[in-house]
C-alpha cells in the first residue's frame, strides 16, 4: 500500500481544508490525476497523485482542516491486493487537537514574574572602564566619589582611590598595595608613553611573582604616579624654599671614613642626607605628617626615598624609623630596598608608610629640584648634585662642594617659617657629619 499525504504546495502553506474528493475507494487512478480539491488561503487548488493504482481508503473527511503531511488516503499499487474501505466518519488525523509543537509551547510558557525586586542591586553610576579597574584592584566602587559626566565614576576617580588607598593603610590590607607613591617630576619619571614593564632580575617566573607582590607593572606605576601627581597638583597649595649647603666637611668625612673601610662597608652621600633629614624632622615635626582633615603628625619618621627606574617611572620605598637608624643601618637598608624597588618587589608597608619624601636627582646633573608632594604627605625634600662652586665664608672666597636642597611643602599644613627652620636644620646637621 502507498500512502497519500496532504501535499505542501508552498512554504507558507501549513494546512488546507479538504473541499472535495474526486475519487472514492476502488477507483483506478493514474499518475497526474486530480484526486481532490483543497482550499488554501490562495483559493481552491487541485491536488494530484504521483502514482498509478487503486484508491484503497480515504482517511480524511470533506471540510476537515488538514495539516500538511497528514495521511489522506491509501493507494493500492497496480498488481497488488489490498483492502478497500469506505470513507470514514471520523478523521484519522485529529486536526483540532493541539500539535506537538503547540503543546510544547504551552508547557514552556514562562512562569509568572519572578521576584525581580529582590535582585534589584544598588546601582552605581560608573564607566565600564572604571568598574573594571576597580574590580581588578579589589576596590569597592560604591565607595568612590565620581567626578565624570553626571557624577559618574570614571577611570581617574578609581586611580585616585587606588593611590589614596596605598597611603592611609599602614599594614597591608587584603592584598598588597598595588601602586607606588610619589614623584618629584622634573625629570625621568615622566616618560611620554607607558614604559615597558621593568625587568625583574631573574627568570620570568620571578618577575611574575614580583609583580604580584606589588601588584605593579610599568603601566600601573605610570598610572598611579600620574593620578597621585595630578591630585597633588590640583589639591595641594605648594610653597618652595631653597638653600645652598657647603658639603666640604661632609664629603671629607665620608672620604676618610670610606678609605678606612672595606669596599662592602663604604657609605654613599645619600645616607648622610637621609640622616640629616631624619634628624631635622625631629626638630620640625610638623613636616613629618599627613594632611587628612587637618594636619596629622606622624610619630615614626619613615622617609620615602625616590628610586628611578631605568625603564621609566619611579618607586618610592619607605625607610622606616630613619631617625633611629645609624648611617651603616641606613646604608644596609638602601642596599636592601633599592634592588627590590627596581625589581618591583617591595612590600606593601614599604609603599604605604612614608611620612615624607626625599628625592635626590644630583646624578642626573641637576642642581635644584622643585618637587611635587605625594599626598597625603605635606613635604618633599629635593637634593641636586654636589658640585664645586665659589663660596664665601667670613668674607673669604673659596671653592667648595655645594649642594642645593629644596623643600616643597603644603601651605595648608605649614608656613614658610616652618620650612625655613627645617632646611636650616638639615644644613646644620650636614656641617657636623661625625654626629650624624
Amino acid at each position: 500500500m502507498l500512502e497519500y499525504r496532504m501535499p505542501s504546495l508552498g512554504a507558507d502553506m501549513e494546512s488546507g481544508f479538504l473541499r472535495e474528493w474526486h475519487v472514492k475507494p476502488g477507483d483506478k487512478i493514474k499518475k497526474g490525476d486530480i484526486i481532490a480539491e483543497v482550499e488554501t488561503q490562495k483559493g481552491i487548488i487541485d491536488i494530484e497523485v504521483f502514482d498509478d493504482g487503486t484508491i484503497g481508503e480515504l482517511l480524511v473527511q470533506v471540510d476537515e482542516k488538514v495539516p500538511v503531511g497528514t495521511l489522506m488516503a491509501m493507494i493500492i499499487p497496480p498488481g497488488e491486493d489490498g483492502e478497500i474501505k469506505e470513507t470514514p466518519q471520523k478523521s484519522a488525523a485529529p486536526a483540532t487537537t493541539p500539535t506537538a509543537a503547540e503543546e510544547a509551547w504551552i508547557a514552556t510558557e514562562p512562569p509568572p514574574m519572578a521576584e525581580k525586586a529582590a535582585a534589584a542591586e544598588h546601582h552605581v553610576r560608573a564607566s565600564p572602564l572604571a568598574k573594571r579597574i576597580a574590580e581588578e584592584k579589589g576596590i569597592d566602587i560604591a565607595t568612590i566619589h565620581g567626578t565624570g559626566p553626571e557624577g559618574a565614576i570614571i577611570r581617574e576617580d578609581v586611580e585616585h582611590a587606588i593611590t589614596a588607598r596605598v597611603a592611609p593603610v599602614p599594614e597591608a590590607p587584603k592584598e598588597a598595595a598595588p601602586a607606588p607613591p610619589p614623584a618629584s617630576p622634573p625629570a625621568p619619571v615622566a616618560a611620554e608613553k607607558p614604559a615597558p614593564p621593568a625587568q625583574a632580575p631573574a627568570a620570568p617566573a620571578e618577575e611574575e611573582k614580583a609583580r604580584q607582590a606589588t601588584g605593579a607593572s610599568a603601566e600601573t606605576i605610570r598610572m598611579a604616579v600620574a593620578a597621585a601627581m595630578s591630585k597633588s597638583n590640583r589639591e595641594i597649595p605648594h610653597y618652595y624654599l631653597e638653600t645652598r649647603i657647603d658639603m666640604r666637611r661632609a664629603m671629607a668625612w665620608l672620604a676618610e671614613t670610606n678609605k678606612q673601610r672595606p669596599v662592602k662597608e663604604r657609605l654613599l652621600p645619600a645616607v648622610l642626607l637621609l640622616k640629616a633629614v631624619a634628624k631635622a624632622l625631629n626638630e620640625v615635626p610638623d613636616l613629618n605628617a599627613w594632611w587628612e582633615n587637618g594636619l596629622q603628625r606622624k610619630p615614626a619618621i619613615n622617609i620615602g626615598y625616590v628610586v628611578a627606574l631605568r625603564t621609566g617611572g619611579i618607586m618610592v620605598p619607605a625607610i622606616h624609623d630613619a631617625d633611629n637608624k645609624s648611617l651603616d643601618e641606613l646604608m644596609q637598608t638602601l642596599n636592601d630596598l633599592i634592588p627590590r624597588a627596581r625589581a618591583l618587589r617591595l612590600r606593601s608597608s614599604e609603599l604605604a608608610d612614608s611620612t615624607i619624601t626625599v628625592t635626590s636627582l644630583g646624578e642626573g646633573g641637576v642642581e635644584t629640584v622643585f618637587g611635587v608632594i605625594y599626598p597625603p604627605q605635606v613635604a618633599l625634600v629635593g637634593f641636586g648634585g654636589i658640585t664645586d662652586q665659589p663660596w664665601t665664608e667670613n668674607g673669604m672666597l673659596d671653592v667648595r662642594p655645594v649642594l642645593t636642597a629644596t623643600l616643597a611643602a603644603d601651605h595648608r599644613a605649614t608656613d614658610g617659617s616652618t620650612g625655613s627652620r627645617f632646611l636650616t636644620a638639615i644644613k646644620n646637621y650636614l656641617q657636623q657629619p661625625e654626629k650624624l
Partner: protein, 334 residues
C-alpha cells in the same frame, strides 16, 4: 523590420539521431519537472518552484542553435534550459534539494542554477534584471573580439520593466551580439498579457530599438529551431542583437502555490492539445524516424535518469553551517 511570427508548419525531416535527441531532451524536462513537483509536495524541495511543463519546445529549439562557448542566461523557470545546456540532472536535483553537491552548493536552489563551466549564468530571479548582464557579457566578448553570442531568455512580463528597455537600447546602441529570446506564455504570474502590455505585439518592442525581431510558434519544436537558427546565424554574422518572441504556454500553475484563479481550465485544456511532446513524437512516428518501441525505450531511459537524480539528491549532504559565510567575498585575491 519586424517579421510577424505565425504558426509555421514544419517540413524538412530531421536526421534521426538529432530528432531522437531533441525528443529525449523535451521528455527529460517534462519528467524531471513532474518529479520536482512531486518532491515539492513531499517538502523535499522548498522555496519557489516554477515548472517549465508545456514550454519545452522553446528551450530545446533555441539551445540547439547555440555553441558551447556562447553565454546563456535564464530566468527562475530555468530547469529545462539547464538540462538542455548539459547540466547534469543529478546535480541540478541536488541543488533543488539544497544539498552541497548541487551546482551552487545548494545555496541557490530551484531559481538559481549556475554553471560557470558550461557558461550557464542563471537562474535569475529578478524579472528583467539579467538582461543588462547579457548586454555586458556580449560587450566583453565584443571588446575582446571573441566570436560568440549571448543568449538571454526572459518572459513577456519582463518587457514591462524599465530594465528591459534599457538593455534593448544599450544592446542596439553598442551593437553587441545578444540573442534575446522572449518566452511569451501569456501570463506574468497571473496577469494576462492584455492586462500588462498596451502593445501586445511584442516584436514591435524589439523593433522599436532598431533590433531585428521575429515571432514563432513556441509549441512547434521545428518552427522554433528554424527561427533560432536564423536568429543565431544573424547575430554571429552581424554582431548585432536579435529579438525572438516564442509564443508558448505553461500547463502548470505559475508556481506550486497557485490556485490559478486567473485562467479557465478550458483554456489550459485547449493549449494542452498543442502539447509539443506528443506533437513532435507523432511527427517522428509518422515520418518513421522513430518506432513505438523507441519511444518506450526513451521514456524508460528518461524515467530512470530522473529517478537516479532523486536517488542522488537524497544521498547528498548539507553544507556545514560553518561554511555559510564562504564566498561572500572571493577566497583568492586576483
Amino acid at each position: 523590420m519586424a517579421k510577424k511570427g505565425t504558426k509555421t508548419k514544419t517540413t524538412a525531416p530531421l536526421a534521426p539521431e538529432l530528432a531522437q535527441k531533441l525528443l529525449y531532451q523535451m521528455l527529460l524536462i517534462r519528467r524531471f519537472e513532474e518529479k520536482a513537483a512531486e518532491m515539492y509536495t513531499k517538502t523535499k524541495i522548498r522555496g519557489f518552484l516554477h515548472l517549465y511543463i508545456g514550454e519545452e519546445a522553446v528551450a530545446v529549439g533555441v539551445m540547439q542553435a547555440l555553441r558551447p562557448q556562447d553565454n546563456v542566461l535564464g530566468t527562475y523557470r530555468e530547469h529545462g534550459h539547464a538540462l538542455v545546456r548539459g547540466l547534469e540532472p543529478n546535480v541540478i536535483m541536488a541543488e533543488m534539494y539544497g544539498r552541497q553537491e548541487g551546482y551552487c552548493r545548494g545555496r541557490g536552489g530551484s531559481m538559481h542554477l549556475f554553471d560557470a563551466k558550461r557558461k550557464f549564468f542563471g537562474g535569475n530571479a529578478i524579472v528583467a534584471g539579467h538582461l543588462a548582464l547579457a548586454v555586458g557579457l556580449a560587450l566583453a566578448d565584443k571588446k575582446m573580439q571573441r566570436n560568440q553570442l549571448t543568449c538571454c531568455f526572459f518572459g513577456e512580463g519582463a518587457m514591462a520593466e524599465g530594465a528591459f528597455h534599457e538593455a534593448m537600447n544599450l544592446a542596439a546602441l553598442w551593437q553587441v551580439p545578444v540573442l534575446f529570446v522572449c518566452e511569451n506564455n501569456l501570463y506574468a504570474m497571473g496577469t494576462a498579457l492584455r492586462y500588462t502590455h498596451a502593445q501586445t505585439d511584442l516584436t514591435l518592442k524589439g523593433a522599436a530599438y532598431g533590433i531585428t525581431a521575429a515571432a514563432v510558434d513556441g509549441m512547434d519544436l521545428q518552427a522554433v529551431m528554424e527561427a533560432a537558427n536564423t536568429a543565431a546565424a544573424t547575430v554571429r554574422k552581424t554582431g548585432k542583437p536579435y529579438f525572438l518572441v516564442c509564443n508558448t504556454y505553461r500547463f502548470r500553475a505559475h508556481s506550486m502555490f497557485d490556485a490559478e484563479l486567473y485562467r479557465d481550465k478550458a483554456e489550459v485544456e485547449e493549449w494542452k492539445q498543442r502539447d509539443p511532446i506528443p506533437a513532435f513524437s507523432n511527427t517522428l512516428l509518422q515520418q518513421q524516424l522513430l518506432a513505438e518501441a523507441d519511444l518506450q525505450a526513451l521514456e524508460a531511459r528518461v524515467n530512470e535518469e530522473v529517478q537516479q537524480a532523486i536517488d542522488f539528491a537524497e544521498s547528498c549532504s548539507w553544507e556545514p553551517v560553518e561554511e555559510m559565510s564562504r564566498f561572500t567575498y572571493s577566497e583568492k585575491k586576483t
